[in-house]
Amino acid sequence: MNEAQTPPPHGIAGLDAEGLVIREGMASGYGFFPGNPEVDRLLAMITALTGEIAILRARLDTHERLAANGNFDRASVEAYVPTATELAERMADDQAMIARVFRPVADELDRLLEDSATQKSLIGSRR
């Protein structure tokens, strides 16, 4: 197991008298890796980068489709609206891109599903 050794960013939730879970810091933001906040920042950067790649790919797709009809300029790129079919194709490409970027997380989950030692550590014991 390759686990962070720091405690989770919250205590176990208890409901208050009104039935609410209001945790300190909820409004101001916090990280999931309090001992290593760079991990939170890196994940945020990777997530943002996939967004930038997605936009580049959409722009390139627009260029390719417009190029099929000859001359076009920046204004025609800006004004281009994909058809429903084209949008569905783009979103399928985007899913594939996202799956490639976040593959290590999915792989680790698949591994956990077969990792009986880690599973044993997660089930706890009778108090």
Binding site: E3, F32, R90, E108
Partner: protein, 381 residues
């Protein structure tokens, strides 16, 4: 994409691409990664716990604490939160770029009315934190004429529901409420209708269109939401009256309405507020009047261990403080205590359009969110 109404913010080529990607990212996290966590918890851990004499359903909090020690679980949590931040950031930038144009378009819409109150104070369960992590929450308001929060909420809600609530109109819940009304009370035509916790009027407009002769009101806690709601409703051809009020104690006279509804509002209140809202609904209805509340169809008693762990994530990290409380609350009991009769609380299948001739499909069988909604109704005798 064609805009569904004149108030919807316009998206540039790149903004539209970014929105599609945010939906794709949320979809990947929910449909590709989350099922693996569900399989781990419900299919692997729960049976092993059971063999050890432990019950994963009752020990879900300890289970969540142990899962949170896994770097992979924290990564999934961090990515899910980051996808939500990306949604609010991308929509916020899009709205801010065109705020003056939106205000002009709102001024050109004349139907309906809006009454805000600068001295209004929202209840703690809505003001203490930003629900859904929406910066500023429901209450942020820059004052007279401001509609920024409403425009952001409208555009983001379509992304948030990922097309499962009626696309950019986000009105399936309104249609589903009225299907329930047609099923239970055929032939009735309410003259005065109130929608509590209406935000930008997604359900209010849908409800209003079934009863064009009715006077329709919507209340919410956010002034900027309501100013946008008024303009949006007008752009969609309805004439709705919005006011900034607390559903626990409104300023409408007794017996003001024939029908009082809400859509996915109760899980954003509190144990104290729930009975107060039910009593207020009772006060506001005329004898024979109908109250209907549509809610998230996740009840704790039928939730798997993963559903409960996922509920903790929603409560703690998507800033839904009453998420778990609401699923355990005896809402139907509060309704009966408030004096309602003919109380029903079950699942209403979601419909894109209500049909008075449809065969009633109200059912005791739970189903997934957006496929069915928990629907609670009662009559003031």
């Amino acid at each position: 994409m064609t805009r569904p109404h004149d108030m919807m913010p316009e998206a540039t080529h790149d903004e539209a691409a970014r929105f599609a990607h945010v939906v794709g990212l949320k979809s990947y996290l929910m449909r590709q990664l989350e099922p693996k966590w569900r399989a781990l918890v419900d299919d692997r851990l729960a049976p092993q716990m059971s063999a050890e004499g432990l019950d994963a359903n009752t020990e879900y909090r300890d289970l969540e604490r142990r899962l949170s020690q896994l770097g992979t679980y924290r990564t999934w949590q961090a990515l899910t939160v980051e996808a939500q931040h990306e949604m609010w950031r991308s929509v916020g930038e899009c709205v801010d770029r065109q705020l003056p144009a939106l205000q002009q378009r709102a001024a050109a819409q004349t139907a309906g009315s809006v009454r805000t109150d600068a001295a209004f104070s929202a209840p703690r369960y809505l003001s203490a934190i930003d629900i859904h992590r929406m910066p500023g929450g429901y209450v942020a308001d820059r004052g007279e004429g401001d509609l920024r929060q409403g425009a952001i909420f409208d555009k983001a809600a379509a992304l948030y529901h990922m097309g499962r609530n009626g696309g950019e109109l986000n009105d399936v819940r309104g249609h589903t409420l009225i299907q329930h009304y047609f099923d239970r009370f055929p032939g009735r035509t309410p003259q005065r209708i109130l929608d509590m916790g209406c935000t930008v009027g997604h359900s209010t407009v849908a409800v209003a269109k079934y009863f064009p002769q009715a006077e329709v009101h919507g209340i919410d806690v956010g002034g900027a939401l309501l100013r946008y709601a008024r303009a949006r409703s007008a752009a969609l051809g309805t004439n709705i009256h919005y006011s900034q009020q607390n559903a626990e104690a409104t300023d409408f006279p007794d017996a003001s309405f024939d029908l009082v509804v809400s859509s996915a509002v109760l899980h954003e209140t509190s144990f104290k507020a729930l009975p107060r809202i039910m009593r207020e609904c009772h006060r506001l209805l005329r004898p024979g009047g109908v109250m209907m509340h549509l809610e998230v169809p996740l009840r704790f008693d039928v939730a798997s261990a993963w559903n409960r762990v996922r509920g903790l994530f929603e409560a703690l990290h998507n800033n839904e403080p009453f998420w778990i409380g609401a699923q355990q609350a005896d809402i139907a009991g509060a309704v009966r205590e408030a004096g309602f009769s003919d109380v029903q609380a079950d699942y209403q299948p979601a419909v894109p359009k209500a049909d008075p001739a449809a065969t009633p499909r109200f059912t005791a069988t739970p189903g997934p969110v957006h496929v069915v909604w928990y629907l609670l109704s009662g009559v003031k005798s």
